[in-house]
Symmetry: C2
Subunit: 383 residues, 2 copies
């Protein structure tokens, strides 16, 4: 079996599995905020994990606020800014994850926030000149810029360091949804220049239901989930300490093996070339842009993505047609539409997303399976 939906969710890492087997048999289960020694032991462990995590993403421990995952992270960051400002404009991009899109819709309807879209090119890459223009034009009234670091469907990496710099020059805070970047490409929070970033554990092989916000100035975070003094009062609720422990393991694993991304990237590019050589009509979305080492979104005109997905699955290769959360809509995704992708391609894409643990032999498998699928489906054209 080749599971190739890492952008949807990553399976537990072998090192996480191994850890959990031992961990489960321990007696160390308690409330990490309790005064007894079990609680204190758990707290110490949790703080050690916070340090490991902070270190692995180029941040300080007190900049890490644990959450249940990126959707909570996104909602918390937007809440922290938009509920506490008089400024009415948010600049975003048309390729954001639905968590950002829905949150902004809410603030638009409920708080009168005005949402401005930065221009993107046909690969979905933000036009930096346009970002600069929007910032200058609306000076003094911009609450924040929220533009993702890498796109979950296409894998396209946005020029986040440059965007952060432009925002800083205009004295506007910059939040970048890094859910698909952390653990999938190089990332260093401090160097990135971002004000806020987020991570989801289940995207990097840790337990689900865990994640964190990175905040340059954590005192600017306001709790979305109310509670006691957990997370310095910034996020209520007993921490998912087991999840946090696996986050530290997963990010350590990435730190150790992340150098393999280079090979992954080469293998992916070879794979894409090979498919295009065999099927000149095939289209790799975002092809000219810098992309995540392990992500390919590919379509063939007139062949339905779901048909390809099913064919691949019959060969034990598991992919999706777009973002997991919108997978059951057999239409060109909002993101692809914004990039100007037409329906004949847009309805036909599949996403292959792998991790740094994969390499050439996995792409060889993908290649064989995808060629078989295309050869079969071209004869019967889905639509």
């Amino acid at each position: 079996m080749l599971y190739a939906d890492y952008n949807g969710s990553a399976p537990l890492l072998p090192s996480v599995k191994e850890y959990l087997h031992k961990r489960i048999d321990s007696d160390l289960f308690a409330n990490p905020n309790a005064l007894h020694s079990l609680g204190q032991k758990l707290k110490k462990g949790m703080e050690k994990c916070r340090g490991v995590i902070a270190d692995s993403v180029g941040a300080y421990s007190d900049q890490i606020i644990f959450t249940s995952g990126s959707s909570e992270g996104v909602s918390t960051v937007l809440h922290s800014i938009l509920e506490y400002t008089e400024k009415k404009i948010v600049i975003t991009s048309p390729v954001e994850h639905v968590a950002v899109v829905k949150a902004l819709s809410w603030y638009k309807e409920k708080r009168g926030i005005q949402v401005l879209m930065v221009e993107i090119d046909e690969d979905g890459v933000v036009n930096l000149d346009d970002l600069r223009t929007l910032l200058e034009k609306n000076k003094g009234n911009i609450a924040m810029v929220t533009i993702m670091a890498s796109q979950n469907e296409t894998g396209v990496i946005e020029p986040f360091e440059k965007m952060a710099k432009i925002c800083r020059e205009n004295d506007v805070c910059f939040f970048s949804d890094t859910t698909q970047l952390i653990g999938k490409a190089d990332f260093h929070f401090e160097k990135s220049g971002m004000d806020y970033a987020v991570c989801s554990g289940h995207k990097i092989g840790a337990l689900s239901g865990t994640g964190f916000i990175i905040a340059k100035d954590p005192t600017l975070i306001h709790p979305l989930i109310f509670g006691s003094t957990q997370e310095n009062g910034l996020r209520g609720g007993t921490q998912h300490y087991l999840g946090i422990e696996t986050l530290a393991i997963a990010l350590s694993d990435f730190k150790e093996k992340g150098h393999k991304l280079k090979d992954l990237n080469l293998a992916r590019l070879n794979f894409e070339k090979e498919i295009k050589r065999a099927f000149p009509k095939a289209v790799v979305i975002g092809e000219k842009a810098e992309r995540l080492p392990g992500t390919t979104l590919i379509g063939y005109p007139g062949i339905h993505g779901q048909a390809v997905q099913i064919e691949l699955e019959s060969n034990d290769v598991f992919v999706t047609t777009s973002a997991a959360c919108t997978d059951n809509q057999p239409e060109t995704s909002v993101v692809l539409k914004a990039m100007g992708v037409t329906d004949d391609i847009g309805r036909g894409v599949i996403r292959i997303s792998l991790s740094y643990s994969h390499g050439q032999k996995d792409y060889d498998l993908c290649s064989t399976a995808l060629k078989n699928a295309y050869n079969k489906l071209i004869k019967i054209h889905s639509y």
Copy 2:
């Protein structure tokens, strides 16, 4: 070792541990919202768990909305009501968990909500006549009543069915924080008459970072965490499916063994009697009220709770001095102050909280350890 801080957090149940060992070695890790068969398999499993959970709490499957735990549950319910009403009054009690208290403070400050406190007696039990009076006096302008089902520090069970009935008669919606009730006492959502209830997995021996809201009418829930179509669009973010699976196991375990609560209750009452016989000055908080079968909050005038806690710990009995989340404040808790408990007792309490898996022999252990602690500390009086 006797871990006696189940109200703070319950260790993983043996049945949960056993399940996890097998589960971790499976290949079934994916996004439950993905279209491929792995995702669909996970989704099916998750929906099966939803059914098991719903059944065990006397609700329908579509009334269960998965969250990261009760703090999120509380925040979501209050958000769903208070952001979508013109009514300005919330009725609550002075013994609520800090998650409710902090949320209400926010709505007071940010949305001009007026918070009215219902009277309680010296055991912390809500005065039903006062609740009725408050409801009638403020007819037409009450957004909701939010009063907990059982108190986390004292274990006192509020007359929640009667409160629900009074609210219904006054056409006001009733949310009851059931975090310390579900899995610790009998509970049937439909029979309770509540409009909303919440549960935290880590309080009942499931994984941390998981929980759920029960909503009589789920269409009235509005997402606090934005995302896609997960949880019918009511809660964004990939579900913590592994946590959800353990929730189903924990609630099944309770369904099977919950009958043991009777014995637990008897053992607790015997234990309390015995301590009071040996130390007539000892005070059991909320003594005259109906309480959770496994919760005792007990103090001895002039002996510091933390000193008792440390003594007990040296005998391998782990208790807390109050709620875990406020454990590091060596003062009479807000809840006890509201009940009129004076500092000489309030600063001296410890909370012993056990589960349906415990019985007489555990209380015998507590009894011996507590007697030793009191005998030792009486001689040196902490304050």
